[in-house]
């Protein structure tokens, strides 16, 4: 054999080996690189933002944030290694788990009140606090997907469509009763995306939207009357929620806390400029003008510190994450997992748009954390679980033998 032919044979062998290993799973086939990269970058960015916040805000503990990331990564890996297809068949069980989780904060041994808010549980013995509603978002996505997958991509009767809507209403109303309007809207939006992707007709969706608009306007209009008759605590819309809505309509209309928060947030974002004020120089969030600068208003802190460039980077990362996840959904051939994937995308869409939108005056103020960025372990763990789910779906994208 000549030297040349030997070399050619070796090259061919290498190529064949490479392609075989790729086909047989390996790194690339079991992990979606786009999702992974966006996820890692977002968590790193978030850690940097929380660290910069920790310089001036006592509550923002970078070590606790890193602990949340660690737990989240662990959860993600566990979920990634598991096969979620089986969940498609236990929709009733999912609903039960969902409702149990929603009302977990009312269980006497577990309930924990922080800053006057309910919705927290504290695990006995280890003393960790957790917001079950973050996990409820994902469970609801699974629940709705398991229902939606039954129709095989096309909902043919209005009865089925309305049944799906009714099923979504159960966790939605439960979370409202529990007192977390923001999260219930996340669940609602994610579930609605799942229903739409399940094959609901556009016309049905549009008429449903019309009904909802009418219903909401009725509730808003009657709110003051119900308040007058039964008191604020009895009505569906609490006074602070009404204030948030009014302030959103006209930021200068009142001098309430909500108006102040919105104004300070706008100033923080706007004064950031192109490159931002730099780490530690964010006067708005650093001097306490901006409330909740490390949690709900973390985007304002980020924008003030890193400017338009930083905000744009964040949005690009979110864009890559969501589009990659849509890609995962397209590649998956299991309808249930596809719906789970788009449900997670819907959840992110709403949370990102609402959270960033409220910081820049596009949306009314609600207390929803920004995925991967906001300080808070509950949200971080739940969002990492969502990444684990997406990666698991990618890993199981082809029909198992």
């Amino acid at each position: 054999m000549s030297q040349a032919s030997q070399s050619r044979t070796k090259n061919t062998l290498n190529r064949v080996n490479r392609s075989r290993s790729a086909a047989q799973g390996g790194w690339r086939s079991s992990v979606h690189m786009g999702v992974l990269a966006a996820w890692v970058c977002l968590m790193a960015f978030g850690a940097l933002v929380v660290w910069s916040a920790s310089l001036t805000i006592a509550d923002a503990s970078i070590s606790r944030h890193l602990l949340g990331i660690g737990l989240g990564v662990a959860c993600a890996i566990v979920i990634w290694r598991s096969d979620l297809r089986e969940l498609a068949n236990i929709s009733t069980a999912l609903l039960v788990i969902d409702i149990v989780c929603i009302f977990l904060p009312y269980v006497p041994g577990l309930s924990y009140n922080a800053k006057g808010m309910t919705g927290w549980i504290r695990f006995p013995l280890i003393g960790l606090t957790f917001q079950p509603v973050e996990i409820v978002k994902l469970i609801t996505v699974f629940f709705m997907s398991s229902l939606g997958a039954q129709y095989n991509g096309r909902i043919d009767t209005v009865r089925d469509y309305l049944k799906l809507c009714g099923m979504l209403a159960i966790p939605f109303v439960c979370i409202i009763i529990q007192g977390d309007l923001g999260s219930s809207l996340v669940v609602f939006f994610a579930g609605a995306v799942v229903i739409m992707m399940s094959g609901a007709r556009k016309e049905w969706v549009l008429s449903t939207i019309a009904v909802i608009i009418g219903l909401v306007s009725l509730i808003l209009a009657t709110d003051s009357i119900i308040d007058g008759m039964l008191g604020d605590s009895a009505s569906l819309i609490k006074q602070y929620q009404m204030n948030r809505l009014l302030v959103f309509m006209d930021p200068t209309s009142s001098d309430s806390d909500e108006a102040y928060n919105l104004l300070q947030s706008l100033i923080a974002v706007g004064s950031g400029g192109f490159f931002g004020k730099g780490i530690g120089n964010a006067t708005q969030s650093g001097s306490g003008f901006l409330p909740e600068a490390h949690t709900d208003f973390v985007f304002a802190l980020l924008s003030e510190t890193f400017g338009f460039a930083g905000a744009l980077l964040l949005l690009v990362l979110f864009g890559i994450l969501m589009l990659s996840t849509v890609r995962v959904a397209i590649k998956s051939d299991n309808l249930f997992l596809r719906l789970v994937c788009v449900g997670i995308v819907g959840m992110w869409m709403f949370q990102i748009f609402e959270n960033i939108g409220m910081c820049i005056g596009l949306m009314p103020i609600t207390g929803i954390p920004l995925p991967f960025i906001s300080f808070g372990s509950s949200s971080m763990i739940a969002q990492c679980c969502a990444i684990g789910i997406v990666q698991s779906i990618w890993r199981c994208r082809t029909k198992s033998a």
Binding site: G270, S287, V326, I330
Partner: protein, 685 residues
């Protein structure tokens, strides 16, 4: 009603939406359409892509579009905020974290013409703290005990934001030095308690010249409003904020812009709760300018003491209602006001640190004689016989009463007919009088003749009033003090409009009105300062300088004058036309005789002065009141310099009481006290 309407509309919208949806959805209620011919073979209701892959493709495209739209909306909004409007938000952000705190500047001092301080500042120690001290209740309680004020009051003072939220809030001002020492010795116990050195107005001579100096007070709401309406036309104008101390009367008010210092500015950084976290730049406060007045401390004192002395004489002579009056001393060569007294007076120090409403209403009440009124410029009185010098000049100039004409005074003048007969003050009659002796004896019938003859003179029926106005009566002198009265020279037009609700025949100008004003009675009104100006004009041959109280603004270094009054120190007010020197000489002769020949008792008080004094008494008569005593004089007669005018409300005859005030002032000027013990009570009016 409104809310119900909204509910109704929302309900209708909801109903319409539900009905609409139901109708809409009915169209799709069947999954299959049944073909009766070909059996019940299911058929798709619509031609949409039937396979899973195709339908999902469209949905995913929609979802991707949704993600793209959402991100684009966020980026667009961020672009507009962070790139386009960045400067606007930047300025808001800076505004957020810095506050400008004002530090007060001491007011300028007020000096007399020789540099003696009439108003100064005294240091006043104030205990202050930033707002957040209120959180430490134990400390505040302790502090309130030490300061001897109620806890609630101390807390309220700390939380009171009128001085500005980030400024130091005054807890107590004018605190005793021993208390301050205690606080400073126990600095550890009083962390956050600060001692500020401030200044308060101080009046070394008590009530001296109180009316001229005026007083200071906190800027009023009306003044702040007026300032707001005036706008910022003048960049040098001082802008006041609530709580500032400003001049409210007298020189303090008139020369506020000089006396008021320029406040210092301290830029502090604050956190979100408004607590001061650091201090940036600061501009030191600049004290206001010291100003010198034309007042001479000695003469001012003499005016006040002389006035009090004259009132005492009046009271001893049976005029128990005497008590109010005014005395003014001018330098007729330039208009400098050397002394200006007004009784009753007040103590300007009661205004320091705010005046209580009780004291304030007492100072303004009729019962206490409205002591805040500066009677020298704002008191309007009938001029009485002091005006006869002008009546005589008018009579001479218009050919009404020549120097050779005589009037026989019988004590009762019937020139306007028996029914309208008028008494001379000397009811026994003066006998035959000419103009000079008429002035000297203040013989009324001489001037009744002048008044009547003017009334019936077709050429110059109001020549008398013209003469009065020519010498500055009926108009303000232009003195640089606030709220000067302009007096009144009545004429036919005035009477017509003033009594407009009277029948026409009663408000018609008549000969009686004319004879009244010829002797300074009736409706004529003058201020003591106006009369002083008239006599200054007589002394100076018609030239009157604008009386003024401002001498100069003292230079910043404390030496020399930065600015004199009107640049040169004097301003000519008017030059009254003199018909002939002989007329003036005749009048001057008359007012010489008033003092030296008419009455030995009056003369005895003046003969020992080293200079010759010309002057005229006056006695105003008002129904239901005792006579108002007047006296106006100037000296030296040959080279006039000092003009003194005095009026005593209900003080009796001018030559008996008011003249003694004049004598005391001249005595102080020439250092020759009145040695005459003659209290013969000159009767000349």
């Amino acid at each position: 009603m409104d809310a119900q309407l909204i509910v109704l509309i929302a309900g209708l919208v909801l109903l319409a939406a539900i009905v609409g949806s139901l109708i809409f959805l009915r169209g799709y209620s069947g999954k299959y359409t049944y073909d009766t011919k070909d059996g019940t073979r299911p058929r798709a209701s619509e031609g949409e892509g039937n396979t899973l892959g195709v339908t999902f493709k469209g949905r995913f495209r929609l979802l991707t579009l949704g993600i793209g739209a959402m991100l684009s909306a966020l980026v667009a909004r961020l672009w507009s905020m962070q790139m386009v409007s960045s400067d606007y938000y930047e300025s808001l952000s800076t505004q957020n974290q810095t506050r400008t705190v004002m530090t007060s500047a001491p007011r300028g001092r007020i000096l007399d013409r020789n540099g003696v301080a009439l108003v100064t500042n005294r240091p006043s120690l104030a205990v202050t703290a930033y707002r957040d001290l209120a959180d430490d209740t134990v400390l505040v309680r302790h502090l309130s005990n030490v300061l001897g004020i109620p806890y609630v009051a101390a807390l309220r003072n700390i939380q009171d934001n009128t001085e500005g939220a980030q400024a130091r809030h005054t807890i107590a001002s004018d605190v005793r030095r021993s208390t301050i020492a205690y606080v400073q010795e126990h600095a550890a116990d009083f962390a956050g308690v600060l001692v500020d050195e401030r200044t308060e107005r101080q009046y070394p001579y008590g009530t001296l010249a109180a009316h001229v100096l005026g007083y200071t007070g906190t800027v009023t709401q009306e003044q702040l409003q007026a300032q707001e309406e005036a706008g910022d036309d003048d960049p040098n104008r001082i802008t006041y904020s609530s709580g500032d101390v400003v001049g409210q009367a007298g020189v303090e008010y008139e020369y506020e812009s000089l006396l008021q210092g320029i406040k210092g500015e301290q830029v502090v950084t604050v956190d979100a709760t408004g607590n001061v976290t650091g201090q940036n730049s600061s501009v030191e406060p600049r004290a206001g300018s010291d100003i010198r007045l034309t007042l001479d401390l000695t003469i001012q004192k003499a005016c006040e003491d002389g006035l009090a002395h004259a009132i005492e004489i009046a009271k001893n002579s049976g005029y128990e209602n005497a008590g109010a009056g005014a005395c003014v001393c001018l330098d007729c060569t330039n208009g400098d006001i050397l002394g200006m007294a007004s009784l009753p007076t007040f103590d300007p120090s009661v205004f320091v640190g705010g005046v209580s409403s009780e004291v304030w209403s007492e100072l303004n009440s009729e019962e206490s004689g409205t002591p805040l009124l500066n009677r020298a410029i704002n008191g309007q009185y009938m001029s009485a016989s002091t005006i006869k010098v002008l009546s005589a000049l008018a009579g001479l100039e218009y050919g009404i009463y020549s120097s050779s004409r005589t009037t026989v005074c019988t004590g009762f003048w019937t020139g306007n007919g028996e029914a309208n007969g008028k008494k001379c003050w000397l009811e026994t009659g003066h006998g035959t009088m000419n103009l000079r002796s008429g002035i000297a004896n203040s013989c009324d019938p001489v001037f009744y003749d002048i008044g009547r003859d003017f009334f019936y003179n077709d050429a110059n029926p109001e020549g008398l009033q013209e003469m009065f106005r020519r010498w500055g009566l009926g108009s303000v002198t232009g003195v640089d003090l606030p709220s000067e009265a302009e007096g009144r020279v009545p004429d036919a037009a005035w009477k017509e409009s003033y009594f407009s609700d009277w029948p026409a025949d009663q408000r018609a100008w008549n000969a009686g009105d004319m004879t009244n004003i010829a002797i300074g009675q009736g409706d004529i009104l003058v201020t003591p300062l106006q009369m002083a100006c008239v006599y200054a004009g007589v002394a100076m041959g018609g030239v009157e300088y604008t009386p003024h109280i401002f001498y100069s603004a003292v230079g910043r270094d404390g030496e020399g004058d930065a600015y004199r009054y009107n640049g040169t120190g004097s301003k000519e007010r008017l030059t009254a036309h003199i018909n002939s020197e002989e007329d003036l000489a005749l009048v001057r002769g008359g007012i010489h005789d008033v003092i030296y020949t008419t009455d030995t008792s009056l003369a005895s008080h003046f003969t020992n002065l080293p200079v010759e004094v010309y002057g005229k008494s006056g006695t105003g008569e008002r129904t239901d009141e005792d006579e108002y005593a007047w006296f106006c004089a100037y000296a030296p007669a040959d080279d006039p310099k000092y003009v003194v005018a005095a009026v005593l409300e209900q003080g009796g005859g001018g030559s008996a009481t008011a003249s003694r005030c004049i004598r005391d002032v001249l005595g102080a000027i020439y250092q020759t006290p009145d040695t005459s013990s003659d209290s013969g009570n000159s009767a000349v009016r």
